[in-house]
């Protein structure tokens, strides 16, 4: 009797043990055979192979990339963030891509269409692309213009729920012949390199995705996990939010030139940026770590360990203060001033077309100090919010680089912003105290910015009541809470805005009067600052009519930016994209902030 009960107890224990030790193979028997890769993943810098030049494609072994935010799937059209776009970019290619300077360079296209070579129509409403000859998909079938047409059809079906704005202005896409395709826009497009350019809108194969258009897109798991592409690699196994395994594409057009060097790639996710940086820089157990937004005092000693190098490059990610430009004069857009609709306390119409306050607030800020505290070498103090190539050469705002508390105080005094009641806080000429609500997302760097800025502003008699909101609510596009950036029910908010591509026209759209998010349009607009002037709107209309080589184009962009800088935006720091590479990885060149960081992965090699 006793023995049977003891056996029962043992049986329970045995069940627990059995449940805890299944063979690893169970439940993982997917199509790919990534099993053998296990032994190569720990290979550090010592895992050397033949010299990079003159070798055969795929002889470089395995390349281990750490993306601490792991890809969910590899179809960029259904991406939930850059992590998925990156996973897709090893496989899928667009017609043209952006280089690290933001210049458009051909990818699948034979050459770049221009007005001169007839690729862009005189009225700028059409662009004609010609594919390279003899392109093959990784399954060996030829790439045709029909696949290009399909990529647009896939996304233009609203039920697909495509996560790209690349096709917003496209009227139709038509195949002229097997290699030629014409894109017709709804109106003149001075910058036509948006659809099929960059890693947000690559070409997908019609044969593979034909049954995945519309609502069916969500159930096409196999296709979304392993799209057939033209790029240097193809997916062999994808585990959502965990690992992606790739193998070399045998039909890659560079194979004859020994590209890609690596025979397989593994993207590994999980953990956080700091752990990824440690793996590459300190331990030397991985080749690359993506998006290392790590405090400078942590990152710099890691780099000193000597296993790897931190790469930084700058695009258009500018951390900036935005001043609420809502018109106080009974404007229907002014929800944030209403009593019932403004539970979050914004009450300040003072920023509406007010140059003085915007300038004084900007003058008081020490951008050098902010950059050193928050970003170190991965950020640059900036006085422009569009720091892109030549278009960034405006010197209008350069005074802002030097902190000038005295000047700011003098400016406010002169214009009647004085502390009349002696409480240390100035009042506007109308007698409203200069005390503002200032919100940003919850994030250590942003809160230290708030702390510093509160001190700067205190010295000019301006009080900022700081608050922060969870990033999930702050950037919540449904605006389920009143804290989302689109509602902007505060006086001041701070975040980083960045442009998907280097196209000024689509970026500067975000300051037009008709782009203001209101309750009337369900907060669907890009002009979050509620900046609205006739001058800007008419100047923007001029810009949209200019060709890329128009000599007035760059001055117009400068003028537009200067107008916004005068009133609405106080730029602080230009944030670089930061990634780390093992010292043995060669051929990366500059980090590409405009396109996939893997844009030239076929040319990466490993030295001994």
């Amino acid at each position: 009797m006793k023995r049977t009960r003891l056996l029962a107890l043992l049986a329970v224990l045995a069940m627990v043990v059995a449940a805890c030790s299944p063979s690893d193979g169970e439940g993982t028997s997917t199509t790919g055979d990534g099993g053998t890769d296990g032994s190569t993943t720990t290979a550090g810098p010592t895992d050397t192979t033949a010299p990079p030049t003159g070798g055969n494609a795929g002889e470089g072994g395995n390349l281990l990339l750490l993306q601490w935010q792991a890809p969910s799937q590899a179809n960029p059209y259904l991406s939930t963030g850059t992590k998925d776009l990156l996973a897709g970019s090893l496989v899928l290619e667009p017609l043209a891509e952006f280089d690290p300077e933001g210049q458009v360079v051909p990818a699948l296209a034979a050459e770049l269409p221009t007005v001169e070579n007839g690729g862009i129509s005189e009225d700028q409403t059409q662009i004609t692309w010609t594919l390279q000859e003899d392109l093959l998909w990784s399954d060996g079938t030829p790439v045709t213009s029909d696949d290009v047409v399909f990529s647009w059809e896939y996304c233009s079906n609203e039920a697909t729920g495509c996560a790209t704005s690349a096709y917003a202005n496209v009227e139709t896409v038509e195949a002229v012949d097997d290699l030629t395709v014409t894109v017709t826009f709804t109106g003149p497009q001075p910058f036509p390199f948006v659809p099929f350019v960059g890693y947000t809108s690559p070409i997908i194969q019609r044969a593979q995705f034909a049954d995945c258009v519309g609502e069916a897109a969500n159930s096409c798991t196999d296709q979304n996990f392993a799209p057939i592409g033209t790029g240097p690699f193809m997916v062999t196994e994808l585990r959502p939010e965990d690992t992606v395994l790739y193998e070399m594409n045998p039909n890659y057009r560079g194979a004859a030139n020994g590209q890609p060097f690596f025979g397989s790639v593994e993207i590994k996710g999980g953990g956080d940026a700091e752990a990824a940086a440690r793996s590459v820089l300190e331990i030397g157990e991985a080749d690359y770590a993506w998006n290392l937004q790590v405090a400078p005092e942590i990152l710099e000693p890691m780099e000193a360990a000597g296993n790897g190098t931190v790469y930084v490059n700058f695009a258009s990610s500018v951390e900036a203060i935005r001043l609420n430009q809502t018109d106080p004069n009974g404007d229907p857009r002014a929800e944030y001033q209403g009593e019932a609709t403004a539970p979050t306390g914004g009450q300040h119409p003072v920023f509406y077309q007010n140059e003085v306050v915007a300038r004084a607030l900007s003058m008081a800020i020490n951008r050098e100090e902010l950059t050193a505290v928050g970003y170190g070498s991965t950020g640059e103090p900036t006085c422009t919010f569009w720091p892109v190539g030549e278009e960034a050469t405006t010197t209008f705002n350069d005074w802002c680089l030097t902190q000038d508390i005295e000047g700011a105080n003098a400016l406010l005094e002169e214009n009647g912003y004085v502390d009349s009641d002696g409480d240390g806080i100035r009042e506007t000429p109308d007698g409203v105290p200069m005390s503002f609500t200032y919100v940003t997302s919850t994030n250590a760097v942003r809160q230290s910015f708030q702390d510093l800025i509160a001190v700067y502003w205190e010295q000019i008699g301006v009080e900022a009541s700081m608050s922060n909101v969870d990033a999930g609510l702050f950037f919540d596009g449904t605006c389920a809470s009143d804290d989302c950036i689109w509602k902007f029910f505060r006086d001041i908010q701070m975040y980083t805005n960045s442009s998907v591509g280097p196209d000024a026209v689509s970026y500067f759209l975000g300051f037009l009067c008709d782009q203001i998010p209101t309750s009337g349009n369900s907060y669907g607009g890009e002009n979050l600052d509620r900046y609205c002037t006739e001058e800007y709107d008419s100047l923007y209309a001029e810009l949209t009519g200019m060709t890329l080589d128009d000599p007035n184009r760059i001055p117009t962009i400068h003028q537009l930016q200067d107008l916004v800088l005068t009133h609405a935006v106080i730029p602080l720091v230009n944030r670089g994209t930061v990634s780390a590479f093992a010292n043995t990885i060669q051929g990366v060149g500059e980090l590409n902030p405009w396109d996939s960081e893997y844009w030239n992965i076929e040319g990466w090699t490993r030295s001994s």
Binding site: Q73, C162, A168, T221, R278, T478
Partner: protein
């Protein structure tokens, strides 16, 4: 006993339905947007289309009934089909619970992640028990001896120093300084038991998380075992057993341990669901992409179907292991009868 199990199982059904409704309501009320990680330049109309395609805008009850149908009809059918290789109804186009972020069936992803969670957390759990019970028994039997004092010290340290500290220290020492073990876990590694290299690779990547977690698990359990043993060692029946001339081994292992294990085994059974739920912090530190990490990521991405399915499965496990604990209790203690 049989009737008791049946009754408890039947009672679990309404409990689970209510749990699923509560989870669903909480998730529905919580603000969140699956498109919040897209670049800000993606306009609102496109975000709206994405939300529409995911079915986010359906009314609450519609979403819940849909989910119930998928969870209790479609998914079980799918499991039956895949086990017996059959095709019940329209198995080709049968709708499944789809994750919003990966657009893949949520249960497939959970299934894919079970091995790494069970490997690390399960092994750590078993090791924890294997360490804790002997330590607890000896500490109690030799109360205030050197072993007891050292054991108390070690378990107190193990219990009070959090895993996120010991984990980071372990990585710093064994990965950064000594370079012995990898600081992340490769989930795609398939153990080939015939190859020493393959097995060693698995041991290497498990050793740090398992050690850290076992220590933590063992700490609490050994204290519990010790206390339970001490309670029983001073009972009259122990003195009776000794006075009857029983050997000391028999007294301790048959009489005292048997009675002391009743609360300990219950505690162990109740901790089993925790293995599946994952040690979220440990998984994060050692980059073991298991179920706990999946839950955290899904919450961050407002992937409601995934969060809903995961939390519901944890609820099922908790209800089930509560039943197991009660049944074990009856097995260990003949005085307890449920019928």
């Amino acid at each position: 006993m049989g009737r008791y199990i049946v009754r408890r199982t039947l009672f679990a059904i309404p409990t689970l339905i209510v749990i699923s409704l509560i989870i669903f309501a909480i998730l529905d009320l919580a603000p969140g947007d699956p498109t919040s990680q897209l670049p800000l330049t993606i306009p609102q109309e496109i975000r709206e289309q994405i939300r529409e395609s995911l079915g986010l805008n359906d009314p609450f009850m519609v979403k819940w009934v849909k989910w119930m149908q998928l969870m209790f009809i479609n998914e079980p059918l799918n499991i039956i089909d895949s086990i017996f290789n059959t095709c019940i109804g329209d198995c080709e186009s049968r709708a499944r619970i789809i994750s919003w972020s990966s657009r893949a069936p949520a249960l497939d992803i959970i299934w894919q992640r079970l091995p790494q969670t069970l490997w690390v957390l399960g092994v750590a759990f078993v090791f924890g028990i294997l360490i804790a019970i002997p330590v607890g028994v000896v500490s109690a039997y030799k109360q205030y001896s050197a072993f007891d004092n050292v054991g108390t010290f070690v378990t107190m340290v193990g219990y009070s120093v959090p895993v996120f500290f010991t984990g980071i220290v372990a990585i710093l020492v064994f990965s950064v300084w000594l370079g012995w073990f990898p600081s992340f876990y490769t989930t795609t590694h398939v153990v080939d038991w015939t190859s020493w290299d393959s097995v060693w690779f698995q041991i290497e990547q498990m050793i740090m998380p398992v050690t850290v977690l076992s220590l933590f698990n063992a700490a609490a359990l050994s204290r519990f075992t010790r206390a339970s043993m001490l309670d029983n060692l001073n009972e009259d029946y122990v003195r009776t057993a000794r006075s009857k001339g029983l050997r000391e081994n028999r007294v301790v292992f048959t009489h005292v341990m048997r009675n002391s294990m009743i609360p300990v085994v219950t505690l162990i059974a109740l901790q089993v669901p925790g293995i599946f739920a994952g040690a979220i912090i440990t998984e994060q530190i050692f980059r073991i992409n298991g179920l706990g990490q999946l839950l955290i990521i899904s919450i961050g991405q407002s992937d409601v179907p995934m969060v809903q399915t995961l939390t519901f499965m944890f609820a099922v496990l908790i209800v089930f292991f509560n039943l197991v604990a009660d049944v074990t209790y009856g097995v260990l203690d003949p005085r307890i009868r449920y019928d």
